[in-house]
Amino acid sequence: MMRHLLKLVWNRKRANALILLEIFFTFLVVFGVGTLGLYFWDNWRRPLGFDWENVWAVRVNMQAASDDTFTPEQVETSARLVREVGALEPVEAVAGAMMEPFSFGSFRSSLEVNGRRVLMDLNEVTESFADVMRTEVVRGRWFQPADAALSWRPAVIDEDLARAAWGDEDPLGKRLGKPDPQDPGPETRVIGVVRDFRHHGDLSGPELFVFYPKHLGNPKHRPPQVLLVRVHPGTPAAFEEELTRRMQSVARDWSFEIVPLEQTRTSAIRRTLTPLIVGGIVAFFLLLMVALGLLGVLWQNLLQRTREIGLRRAIGASRREVHRQIILEQLLLTTLGVLLGAVVVIQLPVLDVFGSALRPEVFTSGLILAMVSMYLLSAVCALYPSTLASRVHPAEALRYE
């Protein structure tokens, strides 16, 4: 049966080659858009590792000559700023950081860990960060004010990084390398592990994350670029004005910008989703175009084969058998196109094009999704024409001769 069908398909290779090509490209489009969608869906389901509700970010611009220069006065002012903001009535807790969660930019460094180079995201935060962001410590401990006296630099890492670097081993007390191995500065040791932390937000992929401490009032530490302020639930937006005025009175020639994290989160989501939605719409129209095209071409092909079908009917094939032949032929063609596409697509994990960003389960579901969609698409497109074909009356069909 299969061999016979193959022969039928081969006999019309010119017309079928074009259909095959179309199925092949469509498969690639469905796979691309589908996998991207699944990737973001998979990310969306994972916990963030912090609680953004009722937290406001205050971006502090010290008007310094460059990002790394600061004076002892600025350090002093910054510490006073945090104290004064923390004393305000609607404020629950304040922390300082290098950047706020969901922010567009990122700081990355590639460190030697456990004998390998690992690329990780980092942030420098004050001791109260874990309270403000409600980040859960699962092992070891978070930073303490007393850490300033340590002769080495403490670091808190997230579960992802612990797993990537040390697998099932206990990461506490382990060493993190330096960006530059020749650097004579103090060494870094892991003191705690927090839940998987995803700085870039709900739709971002897995991030390996490390926190370093920032001590307010320490003249060696740059004052925080961002203050994270947890306010009581239900604090009105009007408090922003009071907050700004209070901060301006502490630091007259600095600039402040207050953004609730809810807002940065929304814009982070929108930034990722907008191109995806636009791509999705374009892909949808492409698919619609292809579906209609396939329907038309199959229909046309069948009209041309009326005689052949009539002959089959005349020598005793039932309607159902004709039906089946047409649909199976189409599915065979689809299988060829899909196989061709799958061979191309499988190169992605084989050549490791996207690295760990393309999780195996996402890739597999994307592949299955694309295959199923292609079979559905061609089955639907073949259904109507095959019904028409099976209705051909043998006598009428043969009269064509």
Partner: protein, 418 residues
């Protein structure tokens, strides 16, 4: 004769409505996507108000510091740019004007307990001569305002409406980021996609909260040069490149960074420098290749589809061709007929695509999804897209018809295919 062809073409198209619909659908949707995408690119790159002189403007947009182990990619500071551009118009008459200005920052104001966020750009007097803003009222601030650090501001129409309502605002004051400015001019809204021109409030550089910016090597500043003509570009680029080399000696952290990359670019070159040149050199040809590649990738599927549909249509009409041949029609007449048919179909699809694209762009402009978007149709791309559709249409619709028209009428009549 042509009228007959036209009549016939319309009749044929109306006869096979489903096929006609598929072809029209494919052509129009493809053109629609193409037109919307180019409208966006045009908004970023093409000379449009207020950057009408973009074709003779060069800029220093981003700089890269490079050392053994580290690279830094970002905006230059005022100090560095000042070092690079000072005295350039005097040294090189090809440079008409030079301006140094910041990237738009966020400025917060509170008006009657309401929070208003605006983009604020600090700039100088020459900026208003390089760019071509259309003023609704008042005028720009001047180099004198900048020299004397006067707290004056130019705002756009939407900002005026937010602060003062729809009434004239020149002479009134507004508070932004804790500073008070007197409004001297109101301009039409500028699309956010225009990097050099976009802002909502423009104030002099010298009104910055502290003077430290004047010494910054890195910061948030850009520079723009207005050349007398495009032919002067190579000379300006050369002069700027030499001044960059001199500025290398003043890199603040010489231990970490030894090399300063960047230069005077058109905006397209600047983008290609960031994406492909790692900041070191601009590679506009690669950026072109990227855009073209994306367009081709996107159009493969619709083209295959169009070819497929067209082939089916022709095969369907084998017997018609046979009859016409039997009655003495020449191959040329037949081909003429099919050409007219395909042209009519493509033009129809193009017209629908154009109308759809105009509607989508108008919707995007009105929706506020892209702040102050002013997306317009690009008729050159429309014609190119239409040409491509025509090519595939003729290639897939006329060539097989021509081959078939050379068959013997008897065979064609019997419905023999190719």
């Amino acid at each position: 004769m042509l009228r007959n062809y036209l009549k016939m073409a319309l009749k044929v198209l109306a006869r096979r409505k489903f096929f006609t619909f598929i072809s029209l659908f494919g052509i129009s949707i493809t053109l629609l996507v193409l037109l919307v995408a180019t409208a966006m690119l045009d908004q970023v790159f093409a000379p449009q108000q207020p950057e009408t002189r973009a074709d003779r403007t060069l800029g220093i947009y981003q700089v890269t510091l490079r050392g053994e182990n580290s690279t830094f990619n970002g905006f230059a500071g005022y100090g560095l740019l000042d070092r690079v551009v000072r005295g350039l118009p005097e040294e090189l008459p090809a440079v008409e004007k030079v301006s140094i200005f910041t990237t738009p920052g966020n400025a917060v104001s509170y008006v009657g307990g309401q929070k208003i966020e605006s983009s604020l750009k600090r700039t100088d007097g020459a900026y208003w001569q390089i760019l071509d803003f259309s003023f609704v009222e008042g005028g720009p601030f001047t180099e004198e305002d900048e020299a004397n650090a006067r707290f004056v501001a130019v705002i756009n129409e939407s900002t005026r409406d937010r602060f003062f309502g729809k009434v004239p605002a020149v002479g009134r004051t507004l508070e932004a980021d804790g500073q008070r400015f007197r409004v001297v001019g109101v301009v039409r809204d500028v699309p956010i996609l225009r990097l050099v021109a976009y802002s909502e409030i423009w104030v002099p550089n010298s009104t910055a909260k502290s003077r430290t910016y004047r010494k910054e090597y890195l910061g948030n500043f850009m520079a723009a040069f207005l050349a007398r003509s495009r032919t002067d570009f190579p000379r300006i680029k050369g002069a700027v490149e030499r001044r960059f080399r001199l500025a290398e000696e003043h890199i603040p952290d010489r231990q970490m960074f030894q090399k300063l990359d960047g230069g005077a670019d058109t905006f397209f070159e600047a983008v290609s420098r960031v994406i492909f040149g790692e900041g070191e050199e601009s590679r506009p040809e690669l950026l072109w290749a990227l855009f073209l590649g994306l367009a081709v990738l996107f159009m493969i599927l619709p083209s295959v589809n169009l070819v497929n549909i067209n082939l089916s249509r022709i095969l369907d009409r084998a017997s018609e061709i046979g009859v016409r041949k039997a009655f003495g029609a020449s191959s040329r007449t037949l081909v003429g007929q099919f050409v007219v048919e395909n042209v009519v179909l493509t033009l129809l699809g193009g017209a629908i695509g154009l109308v759809l694209a105009a509607a989508v762009l108008a919707g995007l402009n009105a929706s506020g999804l892209i702040a102050y978007a002013d997306l317009r149709l690009n008729f050159r791309v429309f014609l190119e897209g239409l040409g491509l559709a025509l090519f595939f249409g003729l290639f897939s619709g006329v060539y097989p018809a021509w081959k078939m028209s050379r068959l013997h009428p008897v065979q064609a009549l019997r419905g023999r295919t190719l």
